[in-house]
């Protein structure tokens, strides 16, 4: 059993990865929708996404939806794997105690 993933373990980042993982493998989630799901500020979400991006766990894409700029986010395969392992680690704690 792998140990905890220190990047994902932080509660907001864990929830971000949970949301992106629940979406399909080719599914993007808009920044504003993710912010509403997490109930955090733009700056807070942006900082956590930056951390996850640097770890290679998420990918961000900036584009225009009509004339409106839009940022959307997707979990990478490495991010999905790390998330699954971290959740398995958390479950093992519940199972073993």
């Amino acid at each position: 059993m792998a140990g905890p993933d220190e990047i994902i373990h932080q509660s907001v980042r864990l929830k971000i990865m949970a949301a992106l993982n629940a979406a399909g493998r080719n599914e993007w989630i808009e920044f504003t929708r993710l912010r509403n799901l997490m109930d955090v500020t733009d700056g807070n979400l942006g900082a956590h996404l930056e951390t996850l991006s640097k770890a290679g766990y998420v990918t961000q894409e900036k584009r225009f939806e009509g004339k409106r700029p839009q940022t959307r986010i997707k979990a990478t395969p490495a991010g999905r794997k790390a998330f699954a392992e971290h959740v398995a680690y958390l479950r093992s704690i519940l199972d073993n105690t």
Binding site: E6, L14, K15, A18, A19, A22, G24, Y89, L90, I93
Partner: protein, 185 residues
Amino acid sequence: MTVDREEAGALLNAVEGIEGRVRQLLLYAHVSDYLFLWGTIWFVGFIGDYLLKDRAALLWLALQGIGLIGTVLIVARHRRNAGTQNWAMVARAGISVIAVIGFGTLWLSLFHVGWREEVTFWPTFLSFLLFLVGLWAGRTLALAAVAIFAISLLGYFVATGPYLLLWMAVAGGGSMLAGGVWLRR
């Protein structure tokens, strides 16, 4: 880093809560695509019915074909986005559309209902099916279905003569389009 049992439990609960909300959002986005498609079809079809009168049968046939192809394409797109392209599921979506249209057409023929009942049947029948899905998928969807059902049924009682067709186009088709927008909020 050490994680105790209490913290692990709380984090897993948070994960499950978020996963549930995301799945519901994706389902609503999926259903709203159908509402946009079929709301537009109803709008065009009933306006065509009003303008073309008895010659609208061909238009409805064409619109049903567009609805069938559109539904299959929506399912295919969502499966592709989910990363689980499944052609059996795409085929089932097409069969479902044919089954629903076939079921309604069969019973409308057997009951020999009048044109007002026939016009009112489809929006109320489809919104009833949508309501059943909403009972399992989420309150917003169920409420949208009830609103579409009520608006369509109201037309049967208040819209006289051929104005029922305009009612179904604007109120029936329009309420489906509005329901689609509401689900995407």
